[in-house]
């Protein structure tokens, strides 16, 4: 696969077309119908959770949120390539991947609601909390992959980055080290075409992002990021290769951020409606659903039923997050493994201040 889709050839791996047809059977991954349905379900769940997150933010019940709409296949397809003992090192726009990894939606809502408990991701194994400083997580991923190699574990690491992140020094340093140290690591770049308002062509003069892998001695591939099968096939092949000691692999998923960069952004200021409509035709969920419907494995009726079931589940997860308390002690207790005396005193002083404040009349 990586020879056939060498980035120098400037071709993109696609398996599922926009109408739900398999156009590249050679690379169609070996998945049972149950697994494909499961994948669709996860993507649907992530999508509803994502849309609801934006609406909760709009209602003033949650803080700034980066929508994932339209990128579900890139996130889920790559996450499904990992085994239980493997590591996931997120950026911040891979909701479907985190959920698949076992992170509860309650934790996700807590995280974006500003609660440190949200970063615990306690239900999931071997996943780092989201990394908001752009690109720095790719270096952690190299370190984590190095530790797996060092401990002679047969596990691998997979990290995410966006198209904008590929301009950061950290990303280039990570690619460089990953190659020099030959660590078991897969880079997944969700090229969603925009870094806030900056389009892909202002990010780099390179023909593709995948081509960047070549300069560091890595393998690269460009895949249709809205095609679940293509992402899963490439990620699975990459995982297999790095697990067996091959060079790290960089996967560029060509996708589209249908929503805003975050809830603080308004994309109508910098992109055309026509462009958005083109990408709606390529929507990852529509395509996978079309495939399932064609195979007579799925019906609109089932889809609607599942949607309303998920809506209820998701609302319950948010309700739990919304009830979660925000005690002052949290900001002090997580600073060090054991709280130093000075910090403990600061906390006590602050509690005293709060008690005093309660007793005063404020106008």
């Amino acid at each position: 696969m990586f020879t056939e889709y060498d980035p120098l050839k400037d071709t993109m791996l696609q398996i599922l077309d926009c109408s739900g047809n398999i156009i590249n059977p050679k690379f169609m991954p070996d998945l049972s119908m149950a697994q494909i349905k499961e994948a669709y379900n996860w993507m649907l769940y992530a999508r509803i959770a994502d849309i609801k997150a934006v609406s909760y933010q709009r209602q003033g019940r949650m803080y700034t949120y980066p929508p994932n709409l339209g990128q579900e296949a890139s996130a889920l397809g790559s996450a499904m390539a990992l085994g239980k003992e493997d590591w996931m090192i997120p950026a911040y726009r891979e909701l479907a991947a985190w959920l698949y990894r076992g992170v509860t939606l309650k934790d996700v809502y807590l995280f974006w609601g500003g609660h440190e408990d949200g970063g615990k991701f306690s239900n999931a194994k071997n996943i780092i909390p989201p990394c908001v400083p752009i690109g720095s997580q790719t270096l952690h991923a190299v370190g984590i992959a190095y530790s797996l190699k060092y401990k002679k574990q047969n596990s691998i690491a997979l990290t995410y980055i966006g198209d904008g992140g590929t301009s950061e020094g950290d990303f280039h340093e990570a690619m460089n080290y990953a190659g020099v140290w030959r660590v078991p690591l897969v880079f997944v770049c969700q090229n969603n075409q925009y870094a806030i308002s900056t389009p892909r062509n202002k990010q780099t003069a390179a023909k593709s992002l995948a081509i960047k892998a070549i300069g560091y001695g890595l393998k690269g591939i460009q895949v249709d990021g809205n095609d679940f099968f293509a992402v899963y096939a490439a990620a699975t092949a990459a995982a297999k290769e790095v697990r067996s000691g091959g060079m790290p692999i960089f996967i560029e998923c060509i996708t589209y951020r249908q929503g805003a960069h975050t809830t603080s952004d308004d994309p109508t200021r910098y992109r055309e409606k026509e462009e958005e409509e083109i990408w709606l035709q390529r929507d990852p969920l529509k395509r996978l659903k079309a495939y399932l419907v064609q195979k007579q494995e799925w019906h609109e009726e089932e889809d609607r039923k599942l949607q309303s079931q998920y809506e209820k589940e998701i609302e319950e997860q948010f309700a739990q997050a919304e009830r979660h308390p925000y005690p002052l002690k949290d900001v002090f207790q997580y600073m060090y493994v054991e709280t130093p005396e000075n910090l403990r005193k600061q906390h006590i002083e602050y509690e005293k201040f709060l008690n005093w404040k309660e007793t005063q009349k404020w106008q």
Partner: protein, 325 residues
């Protein structure tokens, strides 16, 4: 008791900890085959091999970030920055990731890591290679910052730093590497949060840390000739600061000079001066004096470079001022 150099004390600490715990490894520029730019890692590569003593490409942010990742996954990396002047390139990784990971993961992900190397003014290194950056690190919640001034302290504190589950910034100095001191054979550990009284006295408290300790010790000898008894406190730990030891001394002497080779604004020295002014206000017989570097980049010319740093004469002058002599 054997007398060894500061450099050898650090080397022994790293060696012993690597021997003791397989998850400890060291990485940085020139640390392996070349034995370290300042020969601190002498012989370690030969002993432990390329998996545990790693020469990195010249990218400080890169190997710092990688080490942070390795620490998240359970290893105990020691990052050697050739000097702290180069650590600026890695500052984002230290501040935004190492120092915050435990907090942002709700206490789940520990980052047991040591960032070490020479910091502060050296000689003939000019403005970009001869700077004191301890205040940058001491400012950051989530880090521990230590700056031992003797081989004994360096060894015991580095061993503790390597075993600590929090990120520790460990500050050495080029000009201290050849300093000698007694270090016992056999294992010992020193705490990362305790100051040390390096000289007992009753008339004035002189507070310092790291390389200026010798300047302060010489100043104390000069003052003694005038019949003034100085107590010298070596902070050793810059974050957290062992406040009680400082206050106990100042409550006894009622006078205090702080000597810090940083620039004066928002420095560890200025913070200590403020702490004492605030907490020992009723005990002080004079305002606290701060002896620090002049507020200018380090000159290359040797006469000028010495002129802008704390000196014995400057410390004596400050002491005389708070003693109203």
């Amino acid at each position: 008791m054997p007398i060894i150099t500061y450099r050898e004390a650090i080397r022994q600490a790293i060696d012993e900890e690597m021997q003791r715990d397989e998850s400890v490894f060291i990485l940085g520029e020139e640390v392996a085959q070349y034995d370290g730019a300042y020969k601190v890692t002498q012989g370690l590569w030969k002993k432990y091999g390329s998996e545990r003593v790693i020469d990195t490409p010249i990218v400080e942010a890169g190997f710092t970030g990688i080490a942070i990742g390795a620490a998240m996954a359970g290893l105990r990396p020691i990052v050697e920055w050739m000097t702290f002047n180069f650590s600026l390139l890695a500052l984002d990784q230290v501040v935004n990731n190492a120092a915050k990971m435990l907090y942002m993961s709700g206490g789940q992900i520990k980052v047991p890591i040591v960032f070490r190397g020479p910091n502060g003014p050296a000689e003939f290194l000019s403005s970009q290679h001869s700077q004191a950056f301890q205040s940058y690190y001491a400012h950051i919640p989530g880090l521990k910052v230590v700056a031992p001034s003797t081989p004994y302290d360096a060894k015991g504190m580095l061993k503790s730093a390597i075993r600590d589950d929090n990120p520790v910034v460990f500050l050495e100095a080029e000009l201290m590497y050849a300093w000698q001191g007694e270090v016992p054979e056999g294992e010992y550990l020193l705490p990362l949060n305790k100051a040390d009284i390096k000289r007992q006295g009753k008339d004035i408290t002189l507070i310092t840390y790291s390389k200026p300790i010798k300047v302060v010790q010489e100043a104390a000898r000069q003052l003694e000739k005038e019949g003034i008894s100085s107590e010298i406190i070596d902070l050793r730990s810059l974050r957290p600061i062992d406040e009680e030891t400082l206050y106990a001394s100042v409550r006894k002497t009622n006078r205090c000079v702080v000597c810090d080779e940083s620039w004066p604004v928002a420095s560890v020295g200025s913070h200590v001066a403020w702490l004492i002014s605030k907490n020992c206000f009723d005990d002080l017989d004079a305002p606290v004096e701060l002896v620090c570097s002049e507020d200018v980049p380090m000159p290359y010319n040797h006469t000028l470079e010495l002129a802008v740093q704390p000196s014995v004469e400057k410390v004596v002058a400050a002491a005389r001022k708070v003693l109203y002599l």
